[in-house]
C-alpha cells in the first residue's frame, strides 16, 4: 500500500507539471524569470561559448567525413594505394575517422569542463537557482 501512496504522490506532482506545459502564462508568472536570465551577461557568455565551439566543430567533422566519403566514392585508385604492406590509404583514412571522432569528443569534453560548465554555474548563481 505504501507503494501505491508513493505512486499517487508522484502522479499529482507530474500532473501539475504537465499542466504547466500547457499554460504558458501561468508558468511564466510562477517559474524563474526567463527573460531576465536571457538578457543577463552570464547567459550571453554561456551562449557565445557554446555556439563558438559547436558550430565550427560540427562543420569540421562533417566536412572531414564527407571528404572521406567523396574520396571513397570517386577516387578509387588513390584510396587503393598501398602504404604499409597491404594496408592502403583508404583504410588508414577510414581508421583516421575513428581517431578524429574520439579526438573531437575528448576536446569537447575538455572544453565543456573548462569553459561551458563554469559559465553554466555562473548563470545558475546569478539566477539564484541552486546548482
Amino acid at each position: 500500500m505504501a507503494l501505491t501512496t508513493d505512486a499517487q504522490g508522484r502522479h499529482s506532482a507530474m500532473y501539475e507539471q504537465d499542466q504547466h506545459l500547457f499554460d504558458a502564462a501561468e508558468y511564466a508568472n510562477q517559474g524563474p524569470d526567463f527573460a531576465a536570465i536571457r538578457s543577463g551577461a552570464e547567459f550571453g557568455v554561456l551562449r557565445r561559448r557554446l555556439r563558438r565551439f559547436i558550430f565550427p566543430m560540427s562543420a569540421l567533422f562533417m566536412g572531414w567525413y564527407m571528404t572521406f566519403v567523396l574520396l571513397a566514392a570517386y577516387a578509387h585508385d588513390f584510396m587503393a594505394t598501398p602504404v604499409l604492406g597491404l594496408i592502403n590509404v583508404g583504410m588508414l583514412l577510414g581508421l583516421s575517422q575513428f581517431v578524429t571522432t574520439v579526438m573531437i569528443m575528448l576536446i569537447y569534453c575538455r572544453y565543456a569542463g573548462r569553459k561551458l560548465d563554469p559559465a553554466l554555474a555562473a548563470v545558475h548563481a546569478s539566477a539564484g537557482v541552486s546548482s
Partner: protein, 533 residues
Amino acid sequence: MTTGVLAATTAVGSNPVMNLGMFVGFVAITLFIVHRVSSGNTTTAGYYAASGQFTGGQNGIALSGDFLSAASFLGIAGGIAVHGYDGFVYSVGWVVAWLVGLLLIAEMLRNTGRFTMGDVLAFRMRQRPVRIAAATSTLLISYVYLLAQIAGAGGLVSLLLNITSKFGQSIAIAVAGILMILYVLIGGMKGTTWVQIIKATLLLLCMALITVFLLGRFGFDFSTILGQATQHNKLGSAILGPGTLYGKNKLDFVSLALALMLGICSLPHVLMRFYTVPNAKHVRRSLVWAIWSMVGFYFCTLVVGYSATALVGDDAIVHAPGGENSAAPLLAYAIGGSVLLGLVSAVAFATILAVVAGLTLTASVSFAHDVYASILKRGISEPRKEVRVARLTAVTMGVLAILGGILVNGRNVAFLVALALALAASANLSTLLYSLFWKRFNTPGALASIYVGLGSCMVLIIFSPVVSGSSTAIFPNADFHWFPLSNPGIVSIPLSFVAGWVATMLGSRGENPAKQTEMEVRALTGIGSGLPT
C-alpha cells in the same frame, strides 16, 4: 580449403539444440532481471524514461546497444567479408554520426523535454499540430526500422536453428515478436534498458575476445589477414579498395553516407534514450561511453569481417542460409566450434530482441504521450491511464511488426534501415536544429520541415529502383521508377531544411515570445526543467 568450407557450412545449424539452449537461457535470465527491476512502472516517468535514473555509463552502453543491431553487427561484418572495403566505409558513418548527438542535440534535448521528441519540437509551437507531426514521424520511422530488424530475424533463425520452411520461420518471427512485447510490457524503459545493457556488454566482450584471438592467430599483423582474405574472395585484391559494392552508383553511396551521418542521432529511439539519465552532464557522459564502445566495436568488425573471408571464404558465406549475415556466425564456428557459434548466435538473436523492444517502447510512448495525453486529453490525462494506452500501443505495434515481418520475410528489405535513417535525417534533424537554434522558427516551419521531409523520402523511395524496375526490387516485374537513387537522403534532407525555412518566413512572426525565451534558457541551462544539476 573447399572441403573445410563445406564441412563448416553443413555443420552450421547441426547443433540447433545448443543454439536454442543458449538463446532460451538468455531470454530466461533477462526476463527475470526485467521483472526484478520493473517496479514503479505505473508512473509515466517510470515507464517512459526509467525516471531518469540511469547513470551516464549505463546509458552509454545501452545507447551503443541500440546501434549494435542485427543490421550493424551481422550486416557490416558480412558486408566487409563479402565486399571488403566498401563494407568498412559504411561502418565509419555509424561512428562519426555520434558527434551530431554529442555536439548539437543531446544535452539541449535533455534540458528541454521530458519523454519524447514532440516535447522539444512543440515546446514553443502550437501543441496540437506539432505533436501530431512529431508522433507521425516517430511512429513511421520506428515501424520502418522495426520491420527491418524483425525481417532480419527470419533469416537469422533459419541459420541458427536450421529452420528452412517459410512456416517455421514465421513461427520464429512470431515468437521473437511476442518476447519483444513481453519485455516492453513488463519492463518499460527500465527493463528494456537493462536488456540493452546486458546484450551490449555481451556483444562487446564477445567481439573483443574474438578479435584478440584472430589477431593473435595471424601474428598481430593485419596485413597478413588482408593477404589471406584476398586469396579466398573471388574479387581478389579488389576487396582492399573501394568500389566493389557502391562503385556502380557513386551518388547513391554519397546519399547513403549523408543519411547515416545526419540520421543516426535523430532516430526516435535514440533521442528517447537521452531522457533516461538525471541531467545534461550524464547525457554527455553517456555519449562518451557510446562513442568509445562504437569505435572499439567497429574496429573489431573490420578485423572480424576480413578474417571471415580469410578463414571461411566469401563463397561459403554467400551460399550459407542467411547470406552475408552469416559471416560472423560462420567465422565463430571456424575458430571456436559449435560452442562459440551458439554463443555468437544467441548474442545476435538477443541483439534483435533488445533493439525491437526499444523501438516498440519508443513508438508506444510517443503515441501515449504526444497523441493520447497531449492531444486527446489536452494534457490532463491520468498517468495510470496514459501508461495503459502506452502498453496497448506497444501490443498493437508488436502485432503489426510480426505481421509485417512475416509478410516481408525472404524479400529484399535491406533498404529499410537506410530508409529509416533518411527519414530521421530529413524530418527530425532539420526540425530539431531549427527549434533549438533558430529563434524565429515557428509552427508552419516545423510542420513543413517534418512533413516535407517524410513525404519527399517516401515518394522518392516508392519511385526508386528498390521498389520497381530492377531484378532485386520488391516488384521486380513492374517498372514505374524515375528516381535514379535508392537512397533519397541527398534530395530529401536539403528539401526539408528549405521547406522549414520558407514556411517559417511565410508564416506568422514569432509564436509566443515568452515561451521562446523560456526554451532558449532552458535548453542551455536546464533552468525550469526541474532536473537535478
